[in-house]
């Protein structure tokens, strides 16, 4: 056995795809389709539209906070893996929410796409639970001491999405203009939205 062959992930992946294709379990075209979908069509722009709708429509926000998945599906496709159970939590002047997956990389794919590298790093996963304020500060977000911080641990069962605070000075913005302000990091809870 060639040790380098058996440990090279590129070769192992190619071998696995051959084996699965031969058995009719996957087809390269179907795999292509899923890759393209998550590279191109599913990403934080979907969550941004959900947030903008919640900012402009109180009844929608109430539905979103009560039962997120059907509310998300009012705005966009919200199905597929890692979207079965999403819970939305609202940042306020008194409470700030931040999301992590301490054990691996659980993340609400249908609204945010695939997680960024830092979300998967052991440093973030371990530290944000212990010292969220310090981690947020390092990421450029200073929270006043009176704001309570709640860290949510995403899992295969529940994935969290943060509804950020609407920035000042956006009263006359359209929903589309608001969506353009919302960032991925704000929806993970490691940044604020600015106008």
């Amino acid at each position: 056995m060639n040790e380098s062959a058996s440990t090279d992930p590129a070769l192992r992946t190619e071998a696995l795809e051959q084996l699965l294709t031969e058995r009719g379990l996957v087809s390269p075209e179907v795999v292509d389709g899923f890759v393209a979908k998550y590279e191109r069509d599913v990403g934080p722009m979907i969550g941004a539209r959900v947030v903008a709708r919640a900012w402009t429509d109180p009844a929608y926000k109430a539905r979103l906070l009560a039962d997120a998945v059907p509310a998300i599906q009012e705005v966009a496709w919200g199905g597929g893996a890692n979207g079965e159970h999403i819970v939305v939590v609202e940042n306020t002047a008194a409470e700030h929410h931040v999301v992590v997956c301490t054990l691996c990389s659980c993340y609400p794919w249908p609204v945010l796409g695939l997680p960024p590298s830092w979300y998967k790093e052991p440093a973030y996963r371990a530290r944000v639970v212990r010292e969220p304020r310090a981690v947020l500060r390092e990421m450029g977000m200073e929270l006043p001491p009176e704001v309570r911080v709640t860290v949510h641990d995403s899992s295969a069962e529940v994935r969290w999405l943060v509804l950020p605070r609407r920035p000042e000075g956006t009263a006359d913005h359209t929903e589309e203009q608001l969506a353009a302000l919302v960032t991925r990091d704000a929806m993970v809870g490691v940044a604020t939205v600015t106008a």
Partner: protein, 94 residues
């Protein structure tokens, strides 16, 4: 659905979703197998947690691929096939 214009923001992170083509294949296979009912996501997630929690640190998609192999129980066959692929003639060694 491909949003464009001002409502298509935050890909502003400048970060590639996949660092190498094999990562995207490993990702796409897991999603395709899940969609076709080969396994439930919690089963895959549990395997991924076990791989990530193993001693040492590896690139994320190495653990992802390992979890997929574990769930499918194909590690032995993959060893053999990967060795065959490595000995392809004519400079096809990726």
């Amino acid at each position: 659905m491909t949003p464009t214009g001002p409502a298509a923001p935050p890909r502003d992170n400048g970060e590639l979703v996949f660092a190498a083509p094999w990562e995207s294949r490993a990702f796409g296979m897991a999603v395709a197998l899940h969609e076709s009912g080969a396994f439930t996501w919690p089963v895959f997630a549990q395997a991924l947690v076990a791989r990530i929690g193993a001693p040492g640190e590896r690139p994320y998609y190495v653990d992802w691929l390992g979890a997929l192999e574990d769930v499918l129980g194909l590690a032995g066959e993959i060893d053999a096939r990967a060795a065959t692929l490595a000995h392809r003639p004519g400079g096809h060694d990726h």
